[in-house]
Point group: C2
Chain length 330, copies 2
DNA sequence: TAAAGAAATGAATACGTAACCATTTTGGTG
DNA sequence: CACCAAAATGGTTACGTATTCATTTCTTTA
């Protein structure tokens, strides 16, 4: 391992000067720069970013705790976040959280010296929030909100649930069902509230509408769908709390020989890239703006890092994207 | 920032003992451990992993240079790699390489002290290979091979191209075309060779078969497809070098009102998770084994890190997965 | 040419940990 | 009780950089 001391010796200058050549060359004589650069070349010197981090107390690392990539929402956000962070000259430590590994991820993250944290795994009531505040480094949640109501970027979940539901209701469906996730997550809870509200506006009793709250892995969704098929009165429209769920339901429908939207209407929320594929063509609700939610969040996080803001609370408006998995009831 | 020195003072022991309590508690008297642990609690001490890295010359970081996630192949491999690495207690620095940003990624990576590098962005002739060997840290390529023929895990690309092509030929298609990527990548070149070989085996002249070599972003694939549609004699079967290309071609077909497989047969290579979705149901060629290629590669990389192996050269066998985007010609 | 100020360089130190070596304490044995 | 080995602990240093402060060298001006 060749260090800046080696370079210094080789160039006949002090280590300080080597450091200056790399960081503040305007303070060093051109001839000296040349000498040092040549020594760097000859010795194949590469600065040690760990040592630099130690002394500067900046690691240049952003920690991202994402959901798993089999959820296409996280494909979009991870792409946006990683690319943005790298373009800003930072590195990204990525974790994919599931029900199983989340705690060990938190342990690892809390011991890691990152410059900031961006995450989408927080529950509405979660002690993690307070641990992160104690860490005293900037953090932001995307697609999740904590009850303390700080440091988040989300879509208007209630409105999203409302618009999705209203869409199928206005197509004439009166036999709906809801497939969502655990209500400890602000996302699912908010969307469900919107669902309820829309039913109410159409004079339907939410209590009579089948509701499946499931974990969002493949197996549990399949279980929920199996239950759905057992219902006395099969719904004609399935409102899924996320595109990920919707797309998996679509898969299960086709797998069992159903046709969509003939046998089932399906609507999602998130407007993920995959939903636009013409094989899928999922009707969904998504951001009014063209931006990706992960992008908005990471941009805001950098604002906080740069002390341009101190606390982000942002709720983005949504609209409906009608595609081919919903249609007028005959 | 509370350090182990602060803990030491607070507990009335030396910093050495604090370090020992955390790393080799079996060398410390139980009563002392207790004292120190209490001090750690009270002061809310968290070890500084940067300082540890500096002294131990191990960062606990694996660098992953992946392709972009809009390519579903990289969704699968990134998932496998990140989860494996984290389960092993390491962190992952992720980069998504494209034509544009690859050089700046390389610059960043070469200055970063990672314990190992796993990448899928290497060209067959690429100076990067030699720079990485100079770095003297373990690295492995997945899905790419360098001409030096070291440090790689790949599928049998020639065989894959061969099987895919033979499949559509055996279905009665005699009007094929090939949509692939730049031949500087071993993956594309090998698969094309297999394509040629299969044509030859069926008595067709590869030189007369339309071949589109394109960059693998959406826009360039669309351009290639537009060209394809201009051909005097439209092929009945499209052999795509990757599932990513195949799935995008499928999208373009549907977008333009074509039906698959009626108007076009489409076959891919990689057997990505998405290809199994019943909306897509892409016929493809993939690993004989159940494992993900990224998983195999990262597992091998850890073997190298643990000195159990020194150099990986692995080519995995493949088989055909017939689904719904191909059918007998009528 | 001398003096003063600016520019360029260097020496020493801090960052927070693990590791090495030295020292003290403990426990067991004759 | 004395002695010795083993267990437990502590002092010091290294890791490789940036930074602070001091010193030297150069340039300008009277």
């Amino acid at each position: 391992m060749v260090s800046s001391k080696d370079v210094a010796k080789h160039a006949g200058v002090s280590q300080t000067t080597v450091s200056r050549v790399l960081n503040t060359p305007e303070l060093v004589k051109p001839k000296t720069i040349e000498k040092v650069m040549q020594a760097i070349e000859e010795l194949n010197y590469v600065p040690n970013d760990i040592a630099r981090s130690l002394v500067q107390k900046k690691t240049g690392i952003i920690t991202l705790i994402s959901g798993p990539l089999h959820n296409p929402f996280f494909v979009d956000t991870t792409t946006a976040i990683v690319n943005y962070v790298n373009a800003r000259g930072y590195k990204v430590n990525v974790y994919f959280g599931t029900e199983d590994n989340l705690n060990s991820i938190y342990n690892a993250v809390l011991e890691t010296k990152a410059d900031a944290i961006i995450l989408s795994s927080m529950l509405y009531q979660d002690d993690l929030f307070y641990k992160l505040e104690k860490l005293a480094i900037p953090f932001i949640m995307f697609n999740r909100k904590h009850k303390e109501n700080r440091h988040f970027v989300e879509i208007d979940n209630v409105q999203a649930g409302y618009l999705a539901t209203k869409h199928v209701l206005s197509l004439g469906h009166d036999s709906l069902c809801w497939i969502g996730g655990p209500h400890q997550m602000s996302t699912f809870y908010g969307r469900y509230l919107g669902f309820e509200q829309a039913l109410q506006d159409y004079g339907l009793d939410a209590k009579l509408v089948p509701t499946f709250l499931t974990n969002t892995n493949k197996m549990d969704i399949e279980r929920a769908f199996a239950e759905l098929l057992q219902l006395e009165k099969r719904p004609t429209a399935i409102c899924a709390a996320t595109d990920a769920i919707a797309i998996e339901i679509l898969n299960l429908c086709l797998e069992r020989g159903f046709q969509v939207p003939r046998d089932f209407n399906i609507i999602g929320i998130d407007n993920v890239e995959l939903s636009k594929h013409h094989s899928i063509a999922l009707t969904t609700v998504g951001l009014t703006s063209e931006e990706n939610l992960g992008f908005i969040a990471i941009e805001k996080l950098f604002e906080v890092m740069e002390k341009k803001s101190t606390c982000i609370r942002q709720t983005e408006s949504v609209k409906i994207f009608p595609r081919n998995t919903t249609c007028k009831i005959n």
